[in-house]
């Protein structure tokens, strides 16, 4: 397993592409351009969440508040929209709610040393509860046309959802690769001691990372609602597992310090393809969850084994 990092990255890219082609050749209609564009459009929700989730997992955290935020933020915006508040303002309020709840996660993790999985689980549950309470447990719909256009419209032949995914991919990639902030985030996940010796504050990075993840969740929640033209209080449940799976399939390491945004988005597309293929084959969504749950466990196991192996190898104690 002494692979050159570039080779290892190549291997991670190779597996999804190979799987993609193998599946595509077997399943009728899978490689139709219209179906592929549809896959990307459906993957955009998972993909945008995965961009934020990548940063969180890189700093050894996890964001289990997605399921709640994906419903809560659009619920706020939706209620405001139906109350006649102007579209950009109501969407901004929804995004702000996502950022604030994300920052709250950051506060709990940085100042109170609460494990990320529990604070995000709790925040997710609170926002889910509030989403249920706000409209008495039922969904709302009938939004302005401009809002629905964001989810279903297209620029030329490319759906707006795909463009939004590309924008988040670019934003995440830019932060990660071309800013000091991105570098510090890797340092926080890889070796916190070094970060502290450099005199950098871990807390500020944690605030940023969780806030950004909350923002991504809010945007993808709004996009989902725009696609469906409804807000359902439990609409986020399906996407949390997919976003985590996307990161893990994309090689983002739960042990922290490793992982890139583009690969996580590739992971989201893999999940999208997988679900699409299983749908085309007529396999029940619950069976799909069984698959995806198992895949997560297997990949985490394999990547953990590879790391321990290469660590032992570098220490020379193999």
């Amino acid at each position: 397993m002494n692979l050159h990092p570039a080779a290892r990255r190549g291997l991670f890219l190779f597996i999804p592409v190979a799987a993609f082609l193998a599946l595509g050749s077997q399943v009728p209609h899978f490689l139709d351009p219209s179906n592929l564009l549809n896959v990307v459009r459906q993957s955009s929700i998972t993909g945008i969440c995965a961009v934020g989730m990548t940063f969180v997992i890189v700093i050894k955290g996890i964001d289990l508040s997605l399921a709640g935020l994906l419903a809560f933020c659009p619920m706020i915006s939706g209620i405001l929209m139906l109350a006649g508040i102007d579209l950009p303002a109501s969407m901004a309020v929804g995004m702000l709610a996502g950022i604030i709840l994300g920052l709250f996660n950051g506060l709990m993790v940085s100042k109170l040393a609460v494990p990320a999985f529990i604070t995000t689980l709790v925040v997710g549950q609170i926002s889910q509860g509030l989403a249920l309470t706000m409209n008495g447990g039922s969904s709302i719909g009938g939004f302005p046309e401009r809002f629905v256009f964001i989810g279903n419209g297209a620029l030329g032949s490319v759906p707006l959802s795909d463009l939004l995914l590309a924008a988040f991919l670019a934003l995440g990639f830019f932060i990660q690769r071309f800013t000091a902030l991105g570098n510090h985030i890797y340092a926080l996940g890889g070796n916190e001691a070094v970060l502290r010796q450099e005199g950098l504050s871990a807390a500020r990075l944690q605030f940023f990372v969780f806030g950004f993840s909350g923002f991504c969740a809010a945007v993808s929640g709004l996009l989902l609602s725009a696609q469906l033209d409804t807000v359902h209080p439990t609409q986020g449940d399906a996407y949390q597992l997919d976003a985590i799976a996307a990161c893990i399939i994309g090689g983002v390491d739960l042990a922290g310090g490793r992982g890139s945004v583009p690969m996580a988005v590739v992971g989201a597309l893999v999940i999208g393809c997988l679900r699409n293929v299983l749908n085309l084959l007529g396999i029940h969504p619950f069976m799909q969850n069984v698959f995806i749950g198992s895949i997560i466990i297997v990949i985490v196991y394999l990547s953990g084994t590879i790391h321990r192996h290469s660590e032992l190898a570098t220490r020379g104690t193999l």
Partner: protein, 348 residues
């Protein structure tokens, strides 16, 4: 590995007597170290009972119809099922892990008991045994994955949770099984002293596990493992066995609560339990003072934690507030419990 085995071999059973003695001297020292007054000290060391008593007093004063024998019976009935599950969760939290699949085990156990009791017409004791065995098996999967595949507990159980949920949905084809046989219902519904037998079943399970955790070598070892796996291994604690056993027991208890849940609503449902139930149980354990970092937890306090959140649920019902608020309120309670727990840890 070989070094560990050597140490384990050298450790005679006699030497295991030592840790309790040390622990008790540490406990004697502690009150002297914490300087604040007698009453606060008492409260600080008994957070769960204090919260419980405070809630009972406040609810009796301010909520109409709360202080009533019938209402107390309702709360006990509703607490019995999560009280069984919280015992398992407490043990898992004591290892430093978490079981996010608990609620989905409940659903799978529910549908399994429905199929066994109704479709296959098995006698009640056989159903009970089979469901417990099913729970043990599911928990064994969780335990083996966390222990031997070294997947972090929250991600392993999140994954298996989705798998269990999927299986429950597929097996049942998404539909409920209603009208269960009488002998099966009798497990949890037989009236005793004005309460259904499920409450006494929960009480029995609680006593057994309280003794197991606080009075046996297994409990000591579990605590030692949770406080520090390395130190525990060096002093001869069979970490792997403890870890796997705890997950298996947790899922078995979850399966038992799934079975009792099925009996209470007289319908086997694949989406019984679920994430909301897991969350309720985690909240109960955390309010009961179990630490997310492992090593600390008590059956009695966790059950008081469950009773506390059930009292809050009961008040929400009695006051006619939107029931969906319960989820959000639960979240806020767990946050407060975590924040207080962390602040008091920092002070100590």
């Amino acid at each position: 590995m070989s070094a560990r085995d050597d140490i384990r071999a050298n450790n005679g059973p006699g030497e295991r007597e030592e840790p309790p003695a040390e622990a008790s001297t540490a406990a004697q020292k502690r009150p002297a170290q914490i300087a604040y007054g007698g009453f606060l000290d008492l409260v600080g060391r008994n957070v769960a009972p204090t919260i419980f008593l405070a809630l009972v007093v406040l609810a009796s004063l301010f909520v109409k119809n709360f202080a009533d024998v019938d209402n107390a019976a309702v709360i006990l009935k509703q607490s019995a099922i999560p009280a069984i599950a919280v015992i398992g969760m407490t043990m898992v939290l004591m290892t430093g892990g978490i079981d996010l699949s608990l609620g989905y085990v409940v659903g799978l156990a529910s549908i399994a008991s429905g199929i066994l009791a109704n479709t296959w017409a098995w006698p009640a004791p056989a159903v009970l045994a089979a469901v417990l065995a099913l729970g043990l098996g599911l928990g064994l999967c969780n335990g083996l994955i966390t222990q031997f595949m070294r997947v972090p507990a929250f991600i392993a159980t999140l994954g298996t949770g989705y798998v269990f949920y999927g299986i429950a949905q597929i097996v049942s084809q998404g539909s409920n099984i209603n009208r269960l046989p009488k002998d099966f219902l009798a497990i949890g519904r037989t009236p005793m002293f004005g309460l259904p037998s499920a409450v006494f079943l929960a009480l029995g399970v609680a006593v057994v596990f309280h003794v197991l955790i606080s009075r046996t070598i297994f409990g000591r070892q579990l605590e030692a493992f949770g406080l520090g796996a390395r130190a525990a291994a060096l002093s001869g604690v069979p970490n792997a066995r403890i870890n796997v056993t705890v997950y298996a027991l947790c899922a078995a208890l979850a399966a038992l609560s799934g079975l009792l849940f099925t009996i209470r609503v007289n319908a086997a449902q694949p989406n019984m339990g679920g994430g909301a139930f897991t969350f309720e149980v985690v909240t109960g354990a955390i309010v009961g003072g179990a630490s997310l970092f492992g090593g600390v937890g008590s059956v009695v306090n966790s059950i008081l934690g469950v009773l506390s959140i059930k009292i809050i649920e009961n008040c929400i019902n009695l006051m006619g507030v939107n029931y969906n608020l319960y989820l959000a309120v639960q979240g806020m309670i767990i946050l407060v419990a975590i924040i207080f727990g962390n602040l008091s840890n920092r002070r100590a």
